[in-house]
Assembly symmetry: D2
Homo-oligomer: 463 residues x 4
Amino acid sequence: MAGPEHSCGVVGVAADCDVVFYMHRALNVIQHRGQESAGISVFSEGKVTTVKNDGLVSEALNEAALAGVSGKVGIGHVRYSTVGSKGVLNAQPFTVEYNGGTLAIAHNGDLTNHRELRAQYLDKGWSFISDSDSEIIIRLIAKYLSEGEDIIKAIRSTMAKIDGAYSLCVLDNDVVYAIRDPYGFRPLCIGKVAGGYMAVSESAAIDSLGGKFVRDVEPGEIVRITKDSLESFPLDKPSQKAHCMFEWIYFARPDSVMDGREVYDVRKQVGIILAKEAPADVDLIMPVPDSGRAHALGYSIGSGIPYEEGFMKNRFVGRTFILPDQKLREQAVSMKMNAIRSTVNGKRILIVDDSIVRGTTLKKLINVLRDAGAKEVHVRIGSPPIIAPCYYGVDMKSRDQFIATKYSVEEIRKIIGADSLAYISLEGMVKALGFPADDLCLACTNGLYPTPIEGEKLRPQKQ
Amino acid sequence: MAGPEHSCGVVGVAADCDVVFYMHRALNVIQHRGQESAGISVFSEGKVTTVKNDGLVSEALNEAALAGVSGKVGIGHVRYSTVGSKGVLNAQPFTVEYNGGTLAIAHNGDLTNHRELRAQYLDKGWSFISDSDSEIIIRLIAKYLSEGEDIIKAIRSTMAKIDGAYSLCVLDNDVVYAIRDPYGFRPLCIGKVAGGYMAVSESAAIDSLGGKFVRDVEPGEIVRITKDSLESFPLDKPSQKAHCMFEWIYFARPDSVMDGREVYDVRKQVGIILAKEAPADVDLIMPVPDSGRAHALGYSIGSGIPYEEGFMKNRFVGRTFILPDQKLREQAVSMKMNAIRSTVNGKRILIVDDSIVRGTTLKKLINVLRDAGAKEVHVRIGSPPIIAPCYYGVDMKSRDQFIATKYSVEEIRKIIGADSLAYISLEGMVKALGFPADDLCLACTNGLYPTPIEGEKLRPQKQ
Amino acid sequence: MAGPEHSCGVVGVAADCDVVFYMHRALNVIQHRGQESAGISVFSEGKVTTVKNDGLVSEALNEAALAGVSGKVGIGHVRYSTVGSKGVLNAQPFTVEYNGGTLAIAHNGDLTNHRELRAQYLDKGWSFISDSDSEIIIRLIAKYLSEGEDIIKAIRSTMAKIDGAYSLCVLDNDVVYAIRDPYGFRPLCIGKVAGGYMAVSESAAIDSLGGKFVRDVEPGEIVRITKDSLESFPLDKPSQKAHCMFEWIYFARPDSVMDGREVYDVRKQVGIILAKEAPADVDLIMPVPDSGRAHALGYSIGSGIPYEEGFMKNRFVGRTFILPDQKLREQAVSMKMNAIRSTVNGKRILIVDDSIVRGTTLKKLINVLRDAGAKEVHVRIGSPPIIAPCYYGVDMKSRDQFIATKYSVEEIRKIIGADSLAYISLEGMVKALGFPADDLCLACTNGLYPTPIEGEKLRPQKQ
Amino acid sequence: MAGPEHSCGVVGVAADCDVVFYMHRALNVIQHRGQESAGISVFSEGKVTTVKNDGLVSEALNEAALAGVSGKVGIGHVRYSTVGSKGVLNAQPFTVEYNGGTLAIAHNGDLTNHRELRAQYLDKGWSFISDSDSEIIIRLIAKYLSEGEDIIKAIRSTMAKIDGAYSLCVLDNDVVYAIRDPYGFRPLCIGKVAGGYMAVSESAAIDSLGGKFVRDVEPGEIVRITKDSLESFPLDKPSQKAHCMFEWIYFARPDSVMDGREVYDVRKQVGIILAKEAPADVDLIMPVPDSGRAHALGYSIGSGIPYEEGFMKNRFVGRTFILPDQKLREQAVSMKMNAIRSTVNGKRILIVDDSIVRGTTLKKLINVLRDAGAKEVHVRIGSPPIIAPCYYGVDMKSRDQFIATKYSVEEIRKIIGADSLAYISLEGMVKALGFPADDLCLACTNGLYPTPIEGEKLRPQKQ
């Protein structure tokens, strides 16, 4: 899928050793969640040091940047969105000094009442340094702390004010708190690593550190993390869940497990169900590499039709060469993926991808296949059509950007030039995900939002 | 495979338009054949301009480097080997001015009598500017031209002097010649592109330009290429072929076709034959991404055992972070590939790769699988053990670097920690390749060399 | 002089055209005041855009960084000090959103009650995003504005709270304010440029824009700057001035004029007076390039002894080559300046510089002269010995760093290896400066501070 | 002067220690002679290693480039001219392998019969790798060595073939030869350094290494340099000298001494003579920094009129900011130099520079002075008008580029906007230089060439 890009990723670690390496590796493993900036805050000898810069983890947190930075407790962040001023001012972690020391925050998600809260506190005489909704979260926590609340109380008071999606790692001097909003929109899980504990957006990061997955942070829960212990502060009453289905379908790594469901397995199930829902009389099944691979394998299993790798990615294609004319430029884009002629030539082919946002990439791939001699090209999509914006942390803010709000499936088929096109049904996808539909946020596919959003429909509420 | 790296890649184009873009794209497509330096020479308005630099095509031939460079005829090169002095002095194309104008050469392969020829001409009073065997080729052509021979005669006279492997693109002022040694060690093929013709190491480059594959350059053949025509100057008598089998097994792109055989298909056949030769009682077949994917699909087809993607590459892992201790450093290397726990856990797994050189990568991958809960890990290899050096252009120069010269298959199994290990037989691989064994260079697997090499055995000669 | 580095520089412009170019050039001209980071804030279409980065103006504010940035009102900053966290978090301009819009600030100087103010407001529940004393200034202004004061009142209320040195440019939405503390420690002046008006740290920046110097901002004055007008809000009662004498002696450009005195002329007068106070029987007068040139010319005029350029700077000396041993490393440092042997050989030489902080550079230069054959080397210094720290914006915070607090003049002479050494007297320097001594801050040379500093002596107060 | 840029610089060292640092520093000191590329060749353990790259010494020969490079004998080069192909192919040292080992060459100067020699040897069947005239020199030496001549004989045979300007350092395996053409166009001198001897273009490099100047290489002389000895192979008969006068007037460092004359002193004498030849009724004398400083001091001495520093260079002016319109762009160029208003305002000023090539810089400076209030601006030039091209190594190849071939002195005065303009006379300059006119090459000022050049006049030959 070439449309909605990733949101953000967070990590927090407390251990009996320098945690900079832990955070660096973990941020690398969740780098796909945000490639605009990266940062860490560590606590050492009474003070918090923050390093954050634009770019990939390997650039933003390179050796020079991290020289002399160490500590046994810290949080980190990779960031996608580009809201706000230029430069690294909105990079995270975001830190403030308050009268009890230093607070730092790493945030994945979007507050839905950010503008209202901001206006309200501006009217109270506050001034804000950034455009980020994370600033209001940390300033509110600091405010409640300054007013004498303890940290758990201060976080709860803050959670009572803020609405929307937030998975947070908060560093209060030398203690890490992992916090997830009451709906559990974005993932956050806990792991045991050598010498301590960590919280991180995706479990694959725990694996990569040789650690053991402990459990997910529950919706609405606050977990206090020290090198020796995990202490839970759950919500008083169980919340109504709304896990973002797109995390499994598209965002997360295949090797992550979230809220009990393995991502790779969900995608394979999607393929198996798609094969039943939308069969095709073809010679072979091919994935769009690398996003559609698990879905395509599932379709092959479900249909009994052979799986083949028929695309070849051009790893080294440079981005800097300005091409002489428009036609060449279009060719150059297609050049990112070649077809293996011997596999494709004369065949009826079905390709599987996770989603369609604008359809431009698929159109090019179908052309590549036809140029390589494919007799027919059919397309199956591992999610229902996207028709509504996301207010919970995915960069799909406007209905205009979705092909499926403007065209019917048949029209999209014509636009991308496929011989047939089918999406998995909402029911089919929910079944593959393995959760009750009520526990998922499906708003981008059905327009029913788990929380009140002005101008949008609220999903039916549980009794 | 992490051992023998690629050799080099060449391209030559003549067309009725600026060929710089053609060469730039073609070199990008064959970038896997050499990532140390890249260069092009173009002829325009009576003179040859050469741009060559260290680095990938996208860096070495970036916009700034190519500003103002254009021409309707040219050759290009990507280079692997690091023989000779530092810097770009050995980058190609290599050019000389002679009394008839300018010659430029792009060379893939190694001469086996380079040292003897060099000594011989030093004794005749020549001086050499570089360590490269390509210099002696072009200086000999220039010498014969200066002595009044026509270009075809001069190339033939040069070919009579030089032994070993060479696929060449030569630019003599405004004409391109594609030349392949009499054994056809390295690939070279011809394509029709809009406005003209091209020669290039791999056919995928022709596809990527929207061109049509015409044919391979025959062993020993010289092809004169102009925008309008191809003129063939074949060897007088048919040569004894010796195509490097490693080109299909490892070097070339899956989407290339060389000497009539599709690379992807060869690899799948290897897998199918391996499944028959060395069956295994396992739950699933997994490729080592991306090198073993076609072989593994073949094994799955041959065995009827499901194919799964169980490894996840970490795309963003940075190379610059210096890790605090040796143990972390080892972990970091393994971090390039994670296992998908849900796929692997509790399973008997067979992984397939194209070859083993040192065995270090496989050992790490097997560890990763066991850490992720694999019950058994079996390994199948798509080529016979490598036991002898290559003198024909692959960077495997010493017997010491091969694990298979020091250890038995059983010992290697123990070293890498597999539950079972098997290589395809030489016969099996030859069968998959689809050529008579006599037409292949199999020296690295059987120690029998197609041409006389001091201290090595000559393969039985055809009558 | 190689010791106290520069403080900071500020600019503010309002004009009937895009002011980004004005600010870029002005910051370049005052680049010597701060080379750690550079930034600008411009107001356009209802919002303030800030671009700031580490590095020189030419890097931090390069074309890419400024792409699309424009506006008719703006402020800018170059920064020296390295207080606070790593990275650009402390770069300026510093901006906040308050309930009336956006405030931005550029600050040159140091508050002397920063820690007290910060503690006081932390106790009131505020949280701070940076370590910078500029944050408290702008947050206080925002606070008073939020409480309903008008901007002039809010600035006055803030000035009533803050002590120490501050020359400020403040951007309140689309209006620029230039503000100078009541003592006038740091310079700030006003100019007329095509289409509007500007405030800037040094008058040379006005010249370089083809503008006309209007006047200095008075100590304690606020000047509202629009494209059409200058509006003055002076202090109610005249303040006691304390212009930093080092601005003329060392910091400022020779081509600047501050508080009515030309820098180049002050330095020449210093030399003339030095020649009377501390004559020497030598053959020639040489400057330490480029800092001592005007002083040396003055000494030559005052003494009638010929002026010669006897040092040659090595412009291209690289900083990156790590030298094999300590001795070579020392030589390498000396290599930044060679002597012109023909000028120096056999001569009695007097060199003039502006100040001595640690003495290491002078020692090396004297060695260079002796190696080149100088018969005698005498040294004259254009300021009195520095013996006390600066709390008003110069990076000389500790007594330990001054050679003159540890050694007598005679001891320093021996350390640097001169045949004679003399400093100008305090009276002499004050005379050259041309101000009443009461209007200058001379604390670093006499230990008497214009404002109360804990643990330091207050200078006698005017009645 | 902003016109003719520098030619090249060479160095050769033999010592009882690693000479890489010696060469690195020496090349830094002569960096002004060429800033396009830099390189060194060192001999160690039987082989020559060459490192050369584009850029300044500090970039081209940075730590990474020199890692592991060491040796007790070596030569080095900094290069100006941009003749030939792109990239580092024409960077020096230039090396060849011949049957006796390796030869390397570093060359300052231009051969006047390069094209003829090249054609001649192309006709003999040679092929050339570069466009550089240095290749033919080294290939000829190699040829004569291969034919059995000893190295001195081979160099002499080569010198018999080549015409024009050449100061060479040649490395024949482990011995360094310093060679100067029979006219002595370009400088080359010998020094004693710790552990050995060196040859270098300018004596300042010897000083900077703490060495002692020994003597100049004589015109036509070959000097064999080892760590222990200097062995001279002079010309049989004394040659007719033709030292390039521009070396003293413009190219060389003020702190160098060449052929017995100190550069700084020559320039001061030029000023003194100019003051007599072309007096002016002005208030002060100012140099164009930094090129005219010594000339201006001389004029001040000669005239008795005070010397002042009235220009201020803007050190930090960036080159990358693209300015919005042409007018601003012109202003930006002027911004490289500001006037010190207090010095300049209301004064009659005389500025001195070394030469005028195109006049554009002077025109701008005069404007800057007038904008700063100068009442009159007079210009004096320390060399006669340049009216003829240089064929001996200076990049002034065409008559069209000289303002003085197109305009009279009065016209030039008007173009640059001066109140008066005068050049030193040829006789005056020769007198300042202190050589017989017959020993100088004055061709660029009088059109009479020391050696035959097709289409140019030969200077009267000595009997």
